[in-house]
Amino acid sequence: MSDLRVLTTASGCHFQSHPSCGYPAPGIGDFYFKPLFTIGSFQFTKPILLMFLSAAIVLVVFWLAFRKPKLVPRGIQNVGELGVLTVRDQILRPQLGSKGDRYLPFLVSLFFFIWLMNLWELIPVAQFPATSKFAFPVGLTLVVWVTYMFIGMKNQGPIGYFKNMAVPPGAPWWILPLLSPIELLSNIFVRPFTLSIRLMANMLSGHLLLLVFSIASWYLFSATIGLLFAAVSFVVFLLVFVLEVLITLLQAFIFTTLTAFYISDALEPAH
């Protein structure tokens, strides 16, 4: 939160309560944080803390769930199995079939890590989706990109992989010089680019929407007719909040589904 905003909200600046009281509109400044502490020139900020927390939670929950697996699951093992099976049946199997089960650990960690990173947006005190900082989606996308490129080159051979990628089946030879560059560009550059942008942009816009309406509820709050506007704004805030609950899940789902799709593309040449 920018200093100006803290000042205006702390001083009880409301609509028409003072001539200089403007609506403190949220902006890109709300995505930059003062470092919690610095190590050398490295600044440890809130999003980094949230990242470590997410990783730790995923690790601990699944470790607890499968530390002593029982045939008939009890307690937290139920939760763990539900999570793993959901990813397997909804994301992995439709894309890869049962032969893709070896990628299940990767996809499960990816899905729950991204979901948690998104979910911080809705959790009080944290109130910030770490994935809206572009570096996190880019890092995750790099991992995915290296994975599917490696799998592709390993399964189809380094040359065969690019040949299968560049030559669409059934296309006449004379059009290939025009089509192959598109195919290569979209597989190698556009895919990872859109994968990271989609996640970042969705979480960033969601966070901005929540900020706009929550700040407006506070700003419009007064003993006059403005109370009505504040109430409307608060209702919209609640609606957006519910929408964001869905979006945090959906974005993690899309990211993981596309990862599975790219892996399946790399395992076998496109038909």
Partner: protein, 62 residues
Amino acid sequence: MPREGTGWSIVSYLVGGMLLYGGIGWLIGRWTHIEALTGVGIVLGIGLSLALIIYRFTRPSD
């Protein structure tokens, strides 16, 4: 039934085609001082992307 990633692949082909041929058109346009070539490139790129999508996704083997 098409797999779930198909829709996103089609989007990335369209973006790729527009970027590539729009970019080539823009470069040639800069060189020859004909600005309209960027637009021509983008339209050509969409056309070629569509051809590619048809070859990729509408064959019976899929």
